[in-house]
Symmetry: C2
Subunit: 223 residues, 2 copies
């Protein structure tokens, strides 16, 4: 159920909102829940048809998951953004599935798939909004893929280490190889192999659970 304060948020987030009839608004009102998700919790699992998400506050991460548990981040969504791939059951020809986690504590409006579908079938503006959102998701996904496929891994790893070192103001980064892999959309073994190569080149030294930057200049040249 949406209260009047939230209705303002709906009208700002959904360009079609003002064109809805009172019955259509009621349909959404009666089929929407405001949910709170803790940082790190999973909002949508690829096996379900969770519904359409409208993010009130916080940040969500949309990613794909390999059979062996590797994650590749497609894009992130902030306040005012809509996620439709969490309702892929109502989207014709969408045959893949994604995972969605809360990156920080987040407030999310969850609109039931069936109510949204009914509205989409009735109202051309809702249909058109949905298609615009899907095109957006497609474009953002392609951007992420191009980054992963076309920027060579040594460059991306060098960039990541330097960025983290500057942010944390330290030469010693306490990261597991698994953690770096997740962040760079790669596999743990690939990260380990490249770090070993960096170590052989005298760029970093490796200890259990940490990476120490030894030659910042060489690392910067790799970028």
């Amino acid at each position: 159920m949406i209260n009047s304060e939230n209705e303002i948020f709906f009208s700002e987030s959904f360009p079609f909102w003002k064109a809805l009839s009172s019955d259509e608004k009621k349909l959404i009102n009666n089929n929407t829940e405001l949910k709170l998700y803790k940082a790190g919790s999973t909002i949508h699992d690829s096996t379900e048809c969770t519904g359409v998400l409208l993010i009130k506050s916080g940040e969500l991460r949309v990613y794909i998951l390999s059979p062996d548990g590797r994650e590749v981040t497609l894009y992130r969504l902030g306040s005012g953004s809509t996620c439709l791939l969490t309702a892929s059951c109502i989207l014709k020809n969408i045959t893949f599935s994604v995972m969605v986690d809360a990156e920080v504590d987040s407030e999310v409006f969850l609109i039931s798939s069936s109510a949204f579908k009914e509205l989409k079938n009735k109202n051309i503006q809702v249909e058109s909004f949905s298609n615009d959102i899907i095109n957006c998701h497609f474009s953002e996904t392609m951007w992420a893929m191009e980054q992963i496929l076309f920027t060579s891994f040594d460059k991306r790893l060098a960039f990541f280490l330097l960025e983290q070192s500057e942010e944390k103001k330290t030469e010693t980064l306490n990261f597991t190889h698994e953690y770096i892999a997740k962040n760079l959309g790669s596999a743990r073994e690939v990260v380990s192999r490249m770090l070993k190569y960096f170590q052989n080149e005298g760029i970093v030294s490796l200890a259990r659970g940490s990476i120490i930057i030894k030659d910042r200049k060489k690392l910067e040249e790799l970028k």
Copy 2:
């Protein structure tokens, strides 16, 4: 201009065709060309807005191109298929661009972007068809990406070498590392490094311009 034989093909390929008014059909008729493309030729370059393609015969390959010339195949389209990403200028929120080549000699109907856009804006069935096609392209792209990102490269290379060796009935494959990289959506250096590893393991031996399978059993175990 579409003749009556081709009109049958249009009505079979476009689910909206029969619902068009005679004026709408005329709009398409007057803005469509049948073009012949030789195998290997480029039909669509990412910088242009070529138009909507309907493939009469042959096969097209849709791919993305890195700044340094690497190709990653997204999907292939055969007879009766429509390609919309070649008209991305008329698609809201599609901000990436693809390349399209003819894989074999192909006959392609090229519908002008502006005529298709006019039809799409007028006719809800055309709009809906377009969105279904985009969702299809999105799903096929995700499938390709999951293959590239989630299947480890040694497996994919082993699979490729065995498949080619069986197809060509030889243990000696005359492939450049560049050629293999293109086919597997990888970089030449990655292919070279993995082939060197295979050589060290006694699985293949490498000579200028060719790869000789030495231990088929080990290669099959990698798959």
